[in-house]
Each structure stands twice: as structure tokens, then as C-alpha cells.
Symmetry: C2
Subunit: 358 residues, 2 copies
């Protein structure tokens, strides 16, 4: 009896480590002092020009979107989802990511699948300018069925304390700018899978006319990173708060950045809900309120700014390529006991110009 | 059809978040600027007195030790294992931990089990003086059987660049000081479970005379944190390298800190191997070389220092409560093609005094 007989292949693990090393080094930025393989990863942050550096960290997973990757046999995109999800979670507080670590847990380690997953993580890190500083690849026999794995990520970023974005200055009358999502991103997959696969009997390779692609293609669209588009807008100094629309949808995530006494009124007429969400609502007979608390409904990120800055923020976003950005709502007084997000018609600046490019 | 019907209970998730908030706040140190619930956790590092601050980060899991926790229905210790494992991984480079994040993935979320796990994580964070800054609790229906979960942790620490411990100054003749482990720590569980449960048909509540406790008690002993004992030794400036004995045992982990051209000769006669390892070797008929590449064999951490500093390091460790610390080997010239760790008799300083307190 040895370790391999017990289902753990240290040599396969070593092979993965070697491949991870090569992939990780493609992400290394100036701050990286160590090579993968050291017990801990070493990173020297660039603090010059910062008065009071603050670290911002976030941990996330990909959730059951992984099940779609398994069914499609596509393992290179979930890593991109993971990194972008984490990067957005610290971007909303004004931080720029500096390094990332991953946790990949499998039943029996397939060096090829593991390498494909890390490939996606490395690509996501390069796109966001953060270094893949380390991680853990765990082989856990009996915990995961063959070919299955779970994936978690951890990002650390930096922001100068005076430039932390926290929504503190939000007042009624401020406006919400919505940035388009690329699809479900990484939320609502348990419900989407239940509807598409269990209820409708579709498969990942089924072509759905309303979606103009296969179910697999639609569900595996990668979670967008908003960093390149939003960073220049943050530089304008107009941004009061940013909400990343993840689990809980607009309904649960927008209130996370609203100060006491404030609520948000969001007008769903202000943007075009992508077909996948209508398809899921209609075919799954999902109540609209559940849709908005489960899916992003086409809005992946919400930027909140003063009414007078709306045009400046919006034009900056559009210049940065966010042509789908639109004014989607406004901040109102929170009524006692009432929900902090209401969906209703709302008057917004520039109404004459067709919802500002939406 | 709604999200709950699809197996995801957002309200149960919210309850967990509330309980996590209370537990996390018990770990908060001065640097914490944010409350759990923000998209990212904010931490202001204390950099005064550091010339060139370097961040050290590590990601880890608990592996299949979790299966023992499931069988025993004990969920409060794996979090301690997780934190201590991560803290040791950055301690070996000289870093002190500042914050920690966790990833807890379950099938169907049990607020009580989740809270018990986070309780252990919070306890581990308090013991190591690092803040539980955030984390992700994911409910993934169909991914994990009821009552099962996976757990990963991420730690970030700080060290001044000039004080990074990296083994660069190691030369043949240097000595290895071993610090006792508390048991299997978090490695080798797939093999141990295979032998104890599958081969020998034992259960977690089976009392094993040779161990003088139940199998569950033996296997759930928490992974030790070496921080409090090793930090004062690091302050002496005598420490050239530290190896955390994790997956791969002494055989794979000691070479990770040895410079080119150096090998280690370890003398197993120098410390008392705890009964669990002999029991696993004998009853599982595991070849000795596999034992040393799978389990820590009673040595959880190895400190490498100059021969002339051996007494100083050892006495400092013993003063700090590490009465089981012992000289266990020496650094030698690496022979071409030969293994970088050999197990053989080796002459060490103070041989007259019975292996210095071992």
C-alpha cells in the first residue's frame, strides 16, 4: 500500500506544478520576487506615490458554472471567469489588483485538465495586469468524481486610503449607470441549469434559436472584467460607489453600497435585457422578482455618481468602449420598511437623448 | 421555479453571512477598515519600521482530513488546521500573517455546520493574530453530497525584504532542527484513511490501544502553528531556512529550501516517531520511503542554521516551549544524480547530551 495506491499521484502533481510554473511566469509583474514552488509567494508592492496604502482582498468561486464546463469539456474559460469576478470585487472599492492565488481541487488529478484551468487563470491575470503568485492544486480521491473539480480564487489589490470608493457621499438624486454584462457571468447557474437541462431537456450542444447559439456557448460566456473601462472613470473623481452585480442580482448588490436612508429606483426599460434572461424567465416560469434577485439581467456593474456628473461619467465610459453603458436608475429616500431597491419608471438626465446610448 | 427550488437558499446564505460577520469581527486587528459584507475586505498594513515591505501569500486546503471530520461530525477543528497550515507556509519565509480569507463550498447550506467551520477559522485567526478579512461561502447543489463541503484558505503576511528567509546562505555542515508535529497535520489522509478505514475496518470511534485514543481523535488533532515558537528564533538572526513539512513529507519539502549543490542527511534516530506513523507503516505495510514522502513522521517544521548556532537556536526553541525540538540532521554536498534527502546516521553537535533535548 502506498500513496498512489490510495489515489494520490504525487508525480502527476509534480507535473502539474511544472506546467503551472510556466503559466504563472507569463503573468509575473515587476513586484513578483518569488517563483511558484516556494511555500509562499513573495510580492513587493509599488507604494511610491501612495499616502496611505490599503490592501483590498476578495475570495470567490465559479459556482455551478463549472458543471457546464464539465458537460462541454471546456476547461480554459472558468479560470478567466474566476479572475474577472475577483478583480471586479475589489475594483468596486477603487483598488487595482496586484496578485492572485487559486485553489483547484480535483478527485483524480488530470495534468491536462488542471493545466487547461490554470491556463484560463493565467490569461485572466495577464488581462488584468495581476500576477498569479501561487495556489494550491489538491487531489482529493472520493471527494470529486473523475473529471470534476472545484475552483476558488483570491485576489489582493491596492488603493490609497483617501481614494477608497465606499458610497458614503451618496445622496438622493444621484444616478445609477449600468454597464452591460456578457451573459450570466458566474451567478444563477443552479437555476439556469435546472431550467435548461432538467426542465427543457436541452444539452450543451443544443442550438437555441432565441439565443442564436448553443446552450453551452451561451452559458460559458466569460464573466467580464470592468477594470479597463472603469479605471479611467474612477480617475475623474466623479464615482461615488460601484456595485458588482453577482449573487443576489441588482436587488441585493446595489444596497450593499447605499448609505443608510438611501434606496435605489431602477428602471428596467432603460437597458435591453439579453435574450437568455427572457428565455429563462419565460420557459422556466420564473417570477420577475426572482429573476432580478438571481441573475444580473444584463447589468454586470453599476456605477453611482451625482446627477450633474452623469453625462461626464457616461461619455467617459462610452469613450472607453462601454457603448452599452446607460443610465438605469436613481437614488431615492429609503422609506421605512420598504425594499431598498424598487423597479419603476424614473426620470433621468438627458431623457431626450434616448437613455444616453443605451 | 425559483432559485430556492433549484437548491440555492439565499436566505440561509444571508443567515450564514450574519453569523460569519460576528465571528470575523472577533478576529479584527487594528488594520481592518471594512466589515464583512463589502465586496472586498480592506486592510491597512502597519508599515512603519519596515524599509522595504514585501507581501507573502499562500493558498491551502485541508484535503481529505475533511472526510474524517464528516465521519466524526466534528466541524470546529478543520478551520484551525486550515489557518495554521497557511500561517506556517508564510512563516517559513519570515512573514507574520496579517489577514486571512476562506472559501467554503457546500452542497446544501447548513447554517450550523457552516458556522462551526467558520468558528474554527476564526479561532485559528485569533491564535495567530491575523484578521479574518472575508471569504466566500458557496452553495453548489449537486457538487457536494449533503453534509459535505470543501474548504480552502488564503493568507497574506508581511516581511521586510532584507529579512526574507530563503536558504540562500545554506552551506554543507549546517544543521537541521526538527520541531514536533501534533500528528498527521493535514497530509497523508487519503492513505491513512485507506489503511485505517478500508483495510483495517476501523471507525472514527474505534479505540486503538497503540494510539491510546480513538481513530477520530488521532486523525483530527489540529495542524500546529509554529509561529509563536519560531518567531523569537527568527529574531536571533541565526535562521537560514525553514521548511514546512506538508505533502511530500521531509523528502520533498526539505529540498525546497536547499540551494543548488546542497543535500540533507536526516537521521530518523534523532527523534521519536509518534505511534500513529508506526501503526500506519506496520498495519498498512507501507514502505519506509513512502512513509517519509507521505507523512511528516513527527516532524512538522525544520529549521536550518549554522552548526555553531545550533545550541542557541535549540535552546531558544526549548525556552519557547518546544521541548521536543531536536537536531535531526545536517546539510551535505549534493552528489550528482543522488536524492537530495538521505536518511542515515549523522554526527551532530552536542551528541553527548542525548540529541539536545530530543
Amino acid at each position: 500500500m502506498d500513496y498512489k495506491a490510495a489515489g494520490v499521484d504525487i508525480d502527476a502533481g509534480m507535473e502539474v506544478v511544472e506546467r503551472v510554473k510556466r503559466l504563472a511566469s507569463s503573468t509575473f509583474t515587476d513586484g513578483v520576487l518569488s517563483d511558484i514552488g516556494a511555500f509562499g509567494g513573495l510580492f513587493r508592492p509599488e507604494l511610491s506615490g501612495m499616502d496611505d496604502p490599503v490592501l483590498v482582498a476578495s475570495a470567490d468561486g465559479v459556482g455551478t458554472k463549472l458543471a457546464v464546463a464539465f458537460a462541454a469539456g471546456v476547461h480554459t474559460t472558468v479560470g478567466v471567469d474566476l479572475v474577472n469576478h475577483c478583480v471586479n470585487d475589489i475594483l468596486v472599492q477603487g483598488a487595482r489588483p496586484v496578485f492572485f492565488l487559486d485553489y483547484l481541487a480535483t478527485g483524480r488529478l488530470s495534468p491536462d485538465v488542471s493545466a487547461a484551468v490554470i491556463e484560463g487563470i493565467a490569461a485572466g491575470c495577464r488581462q488584468n495586469g495581476c500576477a498569479l503568485l501561487g495556489g494550491e492544486t489538491a487531489e482529493m480521491p472520493g471527494f470529486y468524481a473523475d473529471g470534476r473539480y472545484d475552483l476558488a480564487g483570491f485576489v489582493v489589490g491596492l488603493v490609497d486610503r483617501a481614494r477608497i470608493i465606499d458610497g458614503r457621499s451618496i445622496v438622493p438624486g444621484d444616478v445609477l449607470v449600468g454597464l452591460p454584462s456578457s451573459g450570466l457571468h458566474t451567478n444563477g447557474y443552479s437555476l439556469a441549469r435546472r431550467i435548461l437541462f432538467d426542465e427543457l431537456g436541452l444539452r450543451v450542444d443544443s442550438v437555441v434559436e432565441a439565443l442564436d447559439c448553443t446552450v453551452g456557448e451561451e452559458l460559458l460566456r466569460t464573466h467580464r472584467s470592468y477594470q479597463s473601462a472603469v479605471r479611467p472613470v474612477i480617475e475623474t473623481g466623479c464615482v461615488k460607489a460601484i456595485a458588482h452585480v453577482t449573487g443576489g442580482g441588482l436587488t441585493d448588490n446595489v444596497p450593499r453600497v447605499l448609505p443608510e436612508g438611501c434606496a435605489a429606483v431602477i428602471d428596467p426599460q432603460r437597458w435591453t435585457v439579453p435574450p437568455i434572461f427572457d428565455f429563462l424567465r419565460e420557459r422556466g416560469e420564473v417570477p420577475v422578482e426572482d429573476m432580478y434577485r438571481t441573475f444580473n439581467m444584463g447589468v454586470g456593474l453599476v456605477v453611482i455618481c451625482g446627477r450633474d456628473d452623469a453625462h461626464r461619467v457616461l461619455s467617459k465610459l462610452i469613450v472607453c468602449g462601454e457603448i452599452g453603458a446607460a443610465l438605469i436608475g436613481a437614488v431615492a429616500e429609503a422609506g421605512a420598511g420598504r425594499s431598498r431597491v424598487a423597479y419603476a419608471k424614473v426620470d433621468l438626465p438627458g431623457d431626450t437623448q434616448a437613455a444616453c446610448g443605451a
